[in-house]
Assembly symmetry: C2
Homo-oligomer: 165 residues x 2
DNA sequence: CGTGAAACCGGTTCAAA
DNA sequence: TTTGAACCGGTTTCACG
């Protein structure tokens, strides 16, 4: 992957609805060239999709929390992610190093809803939970700082060097 | 906020580039009615923006971690979020209840880059850090389960009437 | 707040280099 | 892989109910 693709990714991460016309202007390419590159990035999975960023407060889910989970029976097979996938309140599930096995990010309507969710988590995955409640969120969803050299992470075979843009 | 707005929010959260034409079909409204509603949701701040979902591995940032921070001097004013905002590797900053004051979600290129970032965090905000490395991410960015009744939260983001523009 | 139609602009495809 | 042009579809605005 090279310079222009990184630029495109950065721009789309900042504004997922940016038009190809604007993308073209920002990159110095033609509209159809940009179009082709975006398609390729999508097909390759570099761009995994597009999402509206929602204000959870406005949508009835003002309570965010991080729930760390630990299996009650360490010998049992680790199915937690699949067992918990049906719980829509869980926004993300990360397997982590450390004392606990997963960190879940959850969004609920109220403390009672959180209590209920925790019970469902424990029952569904046979785990114990440790919950850290989010009080406020100074910032979130900041676009990634796309690295200068990506070649180590991509299989691109662009041989020639691009001209200065 | 009512049924149709919730539907629109849900659909846009799943696919931030869904066309107004498709949105109209899914909601049973005309294209211009949907257009008007989306604009209003954006203006009200319910829809805060749109973003491409990027594969961090493909983009040279394969290492994710959660960094909990605690002020070294508890008496000092708590400026951490602003002091850390310049570090692009920090994707999110949540103020939390519990032993530590903030949880940061960070994305870096390598263990060395993480080490460097931690030093910058400590130096910039005068805090101690506790880092939990993410090993894998079964899922992330799942769309919010927009609640059935939102009226209790409707006035959170903005007043019902927009101010003079 | 909803609608349909008109006008405009962006998205998409294409042949050529 | 790029480009420009042509075509088509979506976006946006409008007058009206």
């Amino acid at each position: 992957m090279e310079e222009i693709d990184r630029r495109i990714v950065t721009l789309l991460a900042r504004d997922g609805r940016m038009s190809f016309t604007d993308l073209a202007r920002e990159t110095g390419l033609s509209v159809s060239a940009v179009h082709q590159r975006v398609r390729r990035l999508e097909k390759r999975g570099v761009v995994r999709g597009y999402a509206a960023i929602i204000d959870h407060d406005a949508v009835g889910l003002p309570l965010t929390a991080f729930v760390s989970i630990k299996p009650i029976d360490p010998a049992a097979p680790d199915d937690a992610p699949e067992r918990l996938a049906h719980l829509a309140a869980i926004e993300a599930c990360h397997s982590v190093a450390g004392d606990e096995s997963y960190i879940l990010k959850v969004r609920v309507a109220s403390p009672v809803a959180l209590e209920d969710l925790l019970q469902q988590i424990r029952a569904s995955a046979n785990v114990s939970t440790r919950t850290t409640v989010v009080l406020s969120t100074p910032y979130e969803h900041r676009p990634p700082a796309v690295a200068p050299d990506l070649d180590a992470a991509t299989d691109t075979a662009a041989g020639s060097d691009g001209p200065a843009a």
